[in-house]
Symmetry: C2
């Protein structure tokens, strides 16, 4: 194990080569201090992109053929290297994001948890989902195989868990895809530290050169070149609608379009039904206020839309929510530009006719966002899609519907979402079954009497939803099934047993659960 401490690195990592040929240099920004960080980063040149892609292609056959246990060891080594450099990573994280130390620690732990989870997935190998059909005529066996080198875009709002060694990268490593990470410019330093951890882990566990590259990018040109590169076979992205659509367009402009899984945000509607509010209004007002302001509202599952039916309980609830929000502390946003966009977006909602409910107007200090709450009538919301747009920050919009009919119409006209939440008592679960079914058709995850923030990393998680929440609702970027974005099935017909991939060999050397002639079994043939 390398025990040397790391420092922020301004160079790109092209496989096992440090490289800084590009002319464009840039720095990251500390929003807490409202000043630039000291480190200087060098944007990757087109030649560096080319070399990284070529190395990834060359690494692919070897990396993908390794036993899962070898890739598991690589992943576990990444976690250990990160742990060794925990302090530096956390300090840099805070300096580049303005997020509190507690959040950094939580995300660090989550990221390590994800890495070890996918190490386990690599080791067991069940992701191959082997199927064997043997008839008198033919022997056909299918197993999932890695798709090839992929590109991962670091996410502004998750410098660790959805970035360099985040869920996209480690799920791809688990199944044998080399990864080219395009660092998010706002946290290039944090990204460079994690990239070094991956670099060292790859060295220690003897992964082929090109298994991983780390490319710095200031003006998005590196990202475009990567998505358009012929060697790249798929893309993982978490970010804005505009960004995700651009990547999707780049893919469609290729000679051979590739899958782009872009998670592009969501307003995460919460349907607040009358009886639960009558019974527990204050409880839910407090819970929602916390969820709205969590992480300065910079979560893709931030509850940005609260839909209810206008009556006295709902009016009371809105008051309680506005009060509870005013108790929430302003928190630092990721970057001055994000802070400015937040303020402009809220102003725009007011210009569109939204009524201000938040108590505080002008106590914002630089880059610190005060939570804001507005209200619109149901008909106005349904009639103006601009009101449906995500406001990235500690913001939520209350929509007051006249009656259930207007509520149902509103839900039926919602765009695709990552999550939908129902606050209801048991009786309302039945009387509003049609509303709930309609909401279900719009979302990837339905939550009962809870808040949408907090995305559990587990096997049953679905973090994805119909467009425009993501580019493909059939996949998830969180949880074990995240690997499904990077694999494709290959069938082998009448293939000699010793030359078959391990998951579909007769003696089932990986001891997998397999579908054999229609039945699930882990026995050998």
């Amino acid at each position: 194990m390398t025990k040397d401490k790391m420092g922020v690195l301004g160079e790109n990592l092209i496989g096992y080569e440090n490289s800084s040929e590009g002319e464009l240099k840039f720095k990251t920004f500390n929003p807490l201090l409202n000043e630039e960080n000291p480190w200087i980063f060098c944007q990757a040149s087109s030649k560096e992109v080319e070399r990284a892609a070529k190395k990834a292609r060359e690494a692919f056959p070897t990396f993908s053929s390794l036993p899962g246990s070898r890739r598991a060891a690589f992943l576990e080594a990444i976690a250990l290297e990160m742990e060794t450099n925990r302090e530096t990573i956390l300090e840099t994280y805070v300096a580049e994001s303005g997020l509190p130390v507690g959040r950094a620690e939580g995300e660090f732990a989550r990221t390590l948890g994800q890495i070890n989870r996918f190490a386990n997935i690599a080791r067991t190998g069940q992701w191959a989902e082997p199927i064997i059909d043997i008839t008198d005529n033919v022997d056909i066996r299918k197993t999932n195989m890695p798709i090839g080198p992929i590109v991962v875009f670091g996410a502004s709002n998750f410098p660790l868990a959805f970035s360099t060694a985040g869920g996209d990268t480690v799920s791809a490593f688990a199944v044998g895809c080399p990864v080219l990470v395009k660092a998010h410019p706002m946290h290039s330093g944090t990204s460079s530290l994690v990239a070094q951890a991956i670099f060292r882990a790859a060295r220690e566990t003897e992964m082929p050169d090109g298994t991983f590259s780390h490319l710095l990018d200031w003006d998005n040109s590196v990202g475009e070149a990567l998505v358009k590169h012929p060697e790249i076979q798929a893309v993982g992205f978490t970010g804005s609608l505009k960004g995700g659509l651009a990547l999707n367009r780049f893919s469609q402009e290729r000679e051979n379009p590739i899958p782009v899984f872009a998670e592009m945000g969501s307003i995460n509607p919460v349907v607040v039904l009358p009886k639960i509010i009558e019974e527990q209004g204050l409880h839910w007002a407090t819970a929602l206020a916390g969820s709205i302001n969590l992480g300065a509202g910079q979560f893709c599952t931030n509850p940005g839309l609260l839909i209810g039916i206008e009556d006295s309980s709902f009016t009371t609830f809105i008051d309680q929510l506005a009060d509870a929000l005013s108790e929430q502390k302003p928190s630092c946003m990721l970057h001055p530009k994000i802070f400015e966009t937040y303020r402009r977006s809220v102003d725009r909602m007011e210009q569109l006719g939204a009524i201000v409910l938040h108590r505080k107007q002008s106590d914002e200090t630089t880059n610190f966002a005060v939570p804001r709450l507005v209200k619109v009538p149901g008909a106005m919301f349904t009639g103006n899609v601009e009101l449906h747009q995500e406001v990235f920050g500690p913001f939520s919009m209350v929509v007051c519907c006249r009656d259930k009919e207007e509520l149902n119409k509103l839900v039926a006209n919602l765009e695709g979402q990552l999550t939908g939440t129902i606050l209801a008592n048991k009786e309302e679960l039945e009387t509003y079954a049609d509303t709930i079914a309609s909401l279900q058709s719009k979302v990837g995850r339905l939550i009962f009497n809870g808040v949408p923030t907090g995305v559990e990393v587990c096997s049953a998680m679905q973090h994805g939803g119909p467009y425009p929440a993501t580019t493909d609702s059939r996949f998830t970027s969180v949880g074990d099934d995240a690997v499904k974005r990077w694999i494709r099935p290959v069938a082998f017909q009448n293939w000699p047993d010793p030359a078959l991939p391990a998951p579909i060999q007769n003696d089932n050397p990986l001891n997998l659960l397999r579908k054999f002639n229609g039945d699930y079994t882990s026995q050998r043939l």
Copy 2:
């Protein structure tokens, strides 16, 4: 059971309504008689498209909520209705395709087999792939749900098995998606008969109005309108590269792009290794000649590319193949236009420098294609992508490589393919392991010592491959996993048990195999 015999119907079916409001009328063509068939078809109007889409949306909540056994009964009723009208369907099939009766019978049987297979899939419900994770903090359960109304395009070369009640349609019905079929103009009569079978089966088994619509289309405008319609959630297509790319473009032009699964053909490379040819050259020449000419070469798995290393055995093998092909009978192609395109495409290959190997030049009678074989050197093939294009018909191109190195280079530069075949003896399986690995990375199905035609409908089948074979190599259009194109996972968080979908309820009423806290079990919780 309705036992009335059906006749060809010139009208569209908009749910349970017969409709013919369009002004454009057209006929189908009998390539055997080289004359138009008598029936007159009425292209769907934009209003009819609108009504069909609206009905599908309205049918979706009910149809998708039915128990799987109800949808299974619907599917089985389709098979019975088709069986009742077998004679009329087969006669019309032959009159509209020019294919021999034996082929029609075989495809009919296959289609019924597929329907009953997907009925079984609907009944058992394992496609839900339920996952349940319960921790101290949270209860998350995920199940697959149908994606919504889909559009299926009839395929010119499979009037039954890849058309109206073909694999796309019945896999979508199995999981609860309403289907709008756009009939292929060349076999609108056959399609109308199968559509009536679906119509009657839907009536008998009380499916909601709009579960199925059948739209006639002469000039492709109906297809475009359907793919662009906001109510449509996914598309299934088997056909040409040009057609598939157009549909994909229509989807990208939508406000909310949708998944388009287009299977766009393939040249299905066969790598013919030296020793097997030395040992069994004549056997494989005969087998390949049959495969090349099967169904007038109009299969997407037609072996259109035979790659070998130039030596005396390979030269003998090519001679044997040319001889064997000359023994094959010319057969009628689907349509005069397809016949003309076939002749032009072969001529084009000759213009590009391919050397003619086939023995017969000019004994073609109207619409009857003579199998053709040409040869090019490896370097010429690698240097000119126009030589890689599919020639739809009984055609194959032999590529002679100087040595293994040139062979490997050629394979590495191949486009994505549905299938790849290796003819090799056991020793060559090892000595050419690198060639085989490279071929594997290009294909959806690898065949050892066989021919690529003949796509077994089973659980392990993969009929799909990297672009341009399909738009998304992660899916298949044949076999049980065809349903995966039409479903998306939805997670339910802390959701009350009685309101959960059946697959993830505590008592496991469907007796499914479920992943529970990491282990597979069919026990109740």
